[in-house]
Symmetry: C2
Subunit: 344 residues, 2 copies
Amino acid sequence: MITIKDIARAAGVSHTTVSRALNGSPLIKPVTRERIAKIASDMNYVPNYSAKNLVTRKSNTIGLFFSSIEQGTSSSFLADALKGIRRELDEHYMLTMSGIDDPGSLESINPRRYDGILVMSQSELDNRFIYHVQSADIPLVVLNRQLDDPSIANVASDDRVGGRAAADHAFECGHRAIAIIEGKSGFKSSSERRLGYTDSLLSHGISPNPDYFVPGDYSIESGYAAMNALLDLNNRPTAVFCGNDDMAIGAMNACFDRGVHVPGDVSLIGFDDMIFARYTNPPLTTIHKSVSEIAAEGTKLLLQRMEQPHVRPIQRLLGSKLVQRRSVAKFAGSNEHRLGSAAE
Amino acid sequence: MITIKDIARAAGVSHTTVSRALNGSPLIKPVTRERIAKIASDMNYVPNYSAKNLVTRKSNTIGLFFSSIEQGTSSSFLADALKGIRRELDEHYMLTMSGIDDPGSLESINPRRYDGILVMSQSELDNRFIYHVQSADIPLVVLNRQLDDPSIANVASDDRVGGRAAADHAFECGHRAIAIIEGKSGFKSSSERRLGYTDSLLSHGISPNPDYFVPGDYSIESGYAAMNALLDLNNRPTAVFCGNDDMAIGAMNACFDRGVHVPGDVSLIGFDDMIFARYTNPPLTTIHKSVSEIAAEGTKLLLQRMEQPHVRPIQRLLGSKLVQRRSVAKFAGSNEHRLGSAAE
DNA sequence: CGTTATGATGAAAACGTTAACATTTATAGT
DNA sequence: ACTATAAATGTTAACGTTTTCATCATAACG
């Protein structure tokens, strides 16, 4: 393996000069810089990052930590997140990935190993990890889940806007009896999405029907059960907004099993736009959360924090937008005299 | 930040002794080893990997490279692969991920940066990268795609076995008119899957019908087109084996669009068991390739090659198995007199 | 032409660890 | 008790960089 000393010898200069030349120091005469660069490239020189990092006290590594890699739902996150991160990340940075609950994840957290850390968080269980990172004084950005703590840099999608968009869309399609299957209770995403939903209803002069709030926990099964509850109602909703795509799948299955046609009899809207959303039958209309955009934005933020660790952390919410597929139908019933007693 | 010298001072020994104690050298008396370990842990010592790697000439990093992270189909790979790799990988290894065609991927390949490399390959386009790695003399294992070159360690699923299983299943369900939509021509996976299919037919005494071999290229669209071609035939097949799940989706859509019922009128079998396979309508019967298992096995192999770089590389094929869902129906028609003119 | 500022290079130390070699201390054999 | 051997620890150099500080030209100035 060839080192800067080899290059120095070949160029007839000191290794210090080589180091400077290769790192673009202004102290070096342009002509010698060129000469050295040429030689280095001819000799196929590649720097030894261990040595470099040792002396600069950097690691050149940023760590990406996922909550529960085990969980199936997180699948597409990885690819999308990576795409976004790489887009912003200088290529000489190494990007490592681990699960938050991988053995040794907590212990491995130290400023020597990571110049910065991104947490792609999906659950409050990650908080322990997050605070551990913060107390280790490593630049940190939490992605994908909205945090309350303003001392932590954070970028996520705006769940409230998303919830509102979903309900708005149902309304615009003529629906007035719009139900919601809620996400896991206690999760910020759940309450934000519900808030967006009620906002929308209220702003359209619809007073929320207590029967139309059904609890769920983001699992397919809970969506199935919740939809059944909804279908048992006397005054069935004509549209239901599901807190995530998984529950929407469950809801869709419940409909099939009872011979209820989607979207003919009932319209369904999901949230997240997971990859499989376009493969369901009918393809699912849902709220698209751009994971790659969140990741990209978060990376930018992280880089910035690594440069200036002491600027006040920023919270950023990225808009989420509706993607129309085929699980929502126009509701043709005359809206006027249905107001207040929709869809009997 | 605290170093072994700090510990040495605190323990009243030399830093060498500390180093040895912490690394479990047999030269150190157990009692002092304990004492030092205690002190180190009390002082919250964490080793400086840069220094360590510098002197041991290791990087402690293994690199995972994906073909075309951009491609949607690869999504679930990432999560599964990671799961498998982490299962085998000692926690103090860092695992980095990059796309093969990320800018700088080729240049970053050098033995200083990676102790070993895993390539999760999906296409022959990766060969350039693969040979680059090999020529850089870095321990390498190629995952997921079967290679011809015996000088490269390789673990993939046994596509032939999978193809045979698919056709066998159709046969066992009573189907005799079984077609195949083939994968991208030139890809090893395509020919292996076809080979398995013909093997099965032959071994059941069915002579392959040339009409029943329809070309495809692994895309949804090609599956759609191929299925249409099949449905245009006078002697429609009663079951179709699709070279991958994407094409199966396309085929399913073609059926829907023509009012052909799946699996009532025609049974469909996919390959890969992508996450969305269970969400289609009907859920897709397909061949499950255990990506995580492949990744785990590949990691084991890589670790082994890192220890003993000069043992002959191994090729390993992991069995793939059928997962039954609901896109295949029993074919009740009397097989005898339908032979040759099935399902008009 | 001599002094001084400036621009370019070099020498040596430092980063935190492991490893080769040297030294001390304990153990055993006679 | 005295050496020979083994076990435990210590000294020092090395890994490949960057950085601090010193040196040497060269140009600028009066």
